[in-house]
């Protein structure tokens, strides 16, 4: 048992206070400690479960230290409260802060957006961190300027310790960075702009570094997503069925890159950490595009995969998940389903062939002077020839567009009317 508690204390904090509290938690948890003692303790202890139980509120009545600590919280939210460190409070400030926490989290919507999709990921960290943030928000129940004040309080509490980048805090950080310009943003100036005590230049510098690498990540994803969406458009056309459905006829629009693709590049960049972010439509996060509805697919394509977000981003803001609009994308729902399985399987192989010449054709054709990655207004002669040759040599291939074939009779009649009697013509 001792081993267990000491393990826990090292994991969470080295404070004696914490240790005591951990021990007081012990009776409450549902863990089978005797079991744990036998194995590798560190690995077998599921700390998340511990706290889940605690969070449920069963534990609360058992904690004698609650009122004391609560008093400490409400009394003095200033810089020098190192002892009020994180995990300690996990059990306590549950009921009340819980609500506030949720409200605040929802106000930092972009963060929450980021997290919800990654429900599977940092869940462990999330639970414990969530507790931290709930604790953190507690001291400032319902002030008018909720986000501001609470985050300020938060920072005060943490002092020189590890900074908890709450959505509000992060939002201010991003604002400052944008004001200065991402590349020109210097930690000292950011610090000035944020105007928050208890944040050191060092905190900001490391956060800035993470932010920058994250943005690069996003941009790379976006570029990848763009490529995907183009390809998908082509496939989509080929696989189209005739039914009066507009969907199939997307290929021709490929020649219009500016129109089709312009829409998404900006969104993902805004996604990260921007509280004002509009979640539902476009998030380039994890999933791939859902099969787009008939209107420009690119619109939905922007949900580029936000795939593997560095987990640390999530740690802080996982909580919101329940609150955010559960769009699959970005953290949300959508995408990544961005590129839902392109109808590739449906595409006749011959369509694939067709796409390639179009690609090849584009760069060689200099007529339009328009640089488009995959398609051109004037396909080259070679590509046309290739496509036609292919169609001629493989007449059994299914039709790429699958337009409804005219009735043979009407065609023949029409041809005769125009003076064509022999089909196929024997002489040209």
């Amino acid at each position: 048992m001792l081993a267990v508690s000491s393990l826990r204390s090292t994991t969470f904090s080295s404070k004696d206070e914490n240790q005591e509290q951990m021990e007081s938690f012990r009776p409450v948890g549902n863990q089978d400690f005797s079991e744990l003692a036998d194995k590798n303790l560190l690995e077998s202890i599921d700390f998340d479960n511990l706290f889940v139980d605690i969070n449920a509120g069963d534990v609360l009545p058992d904690l004698e230290m609650d009122p004391e600590i609560l008093a400490e919280f409400s009394v003095s939210p200033n810089c020098d409260q190192p002892e009020l460190n994180t995990s300690v409070s996990n059990g306590k400030v549950e009921d009340n802060p819980r609500k506030e926490e949720e409200e605040k989290i929802s106000s930092g919507s972009s963060w929450s957006g980021l997290d919800s999709s990654l429900s599977t990921r940092g869940e462990d960290q999330v639970v414990s961190k969530r507790d931290e943030s709930s604790w953190v928000m507690n001291p400032v129940p319902h002030k008018g300027d909720k986000g501001r004040k609470s985050s300020t309080q938060t920072k005060h509490n943490q002092g020189k310790k590890k900074v908890d980048w709450t959505p509000e805090l992060h939002g201010r950080f991003v604002q400052a960075v944008e004001l200065l310009g991402v590349d020109k943003a210097v930690p000292s100036r950011i610090l000035e702009l944020m105007g928050i005590d208890c944040l050191t230049r060092h905190n900001i510098a490391s956060h800035l570094q993470k932010y920058r690498s994250h943005r690069k990540h996003l941009l790379a994803r976006e570029a990848e997503a763009v490529g995907w969406s183009q390809r998908r458009q082509m496939y989509g056309t080929a696989a189209a069925t005739v039914g009066g459905d507009m969907l199939p006829w997307q290929v021709p629009t490929i020649g219009f890159p500016p129109v089709t693709l312009m829409q998404h590049p900006f969104r993902p960049l805004h996604v990260w950490g921007h509280p004002s972010m509009d979640q539902s439509p476009i998030h380039i996060w994890p999933k791939h595009l859902t099969p787009s509805p008939s209107p420009p697919p690119p619109q939905s394509h922007s949900w580029a995969p936000l795939p593997r977000n560095p987990s640390y981003w999530h740690q802080h803001h996982r909580v919101p998940s329940g609150l955010t609009p559960g769009t699959p994308c970005l953290p949300q729902s959508l995408p990544a389903t961005r590129f839902a399985t392109p109808p590739v399987p449906v595409i006749p192989s011959h369509a694939t062939y067709k796409v390639d010449p179009a690609d090849i054709g584009a760069p060689t054709s200099g007529q339009s002077g328009h640089h488009h990655p995959t398609f051109d207004f004037h396909p080259s002669k070679e590509s046309i020839d290739a496509a036609i040759g292919d169609a001629l040599s493989k007449p059994w291939q299914p039709l790429p567009l699958k337009l409804k074939a005219p009735s043979l009779d009407s065609v023949l009649v029409e041809l005769q009317r125009r003076g064509v009697t022999k089909i196929p013509p024997t002489a040209c």
Binding site: G244, I384, D385, L403, K404, L415
Partner: protein, 86 residues
């Protein structure tokens, strides 16, 4: 006889679809098919018209799209020629 006609017309239909994928107009298609596949323009034209009748919606949308592209293309050309002039 009828079979070969049917298959021929089917072939022309197929080729026309290919041309549509390349964003061609009816005239361009006629030219291309005549050039690359030895299909008489009148045949191409007839089959195209029949296809248009059977797939009116598609062809309406198609022509609209082509029109937009033309306009944009023009605009781009004007734009680039303007910038090169200035």
């Amino acid at each position: 006889m009828a079979d070969s006609s049917a298959s021929y017309i089917h072939m022309v239909h197929h080729l026309i679809e290919e041309c549509i994928i390349f964003n061609m107009s009816k005239e361009e298609c006629m030219e291309a098919l005549a050039k690359h596949a030895n299909v008489k323009p009148v045949i191409t034209s007839t089959v195209w018209k029949e296809l248009e009748k059977e797939n009116k919606e598609f062809f309406d949308a198609y022509s609209r799209r082509r029109q937009q592209m033309e306009e944009t293309r023009e605009r781009i050309q004007n734009f680039t020629s303007d910038s090169s002039n200035s």
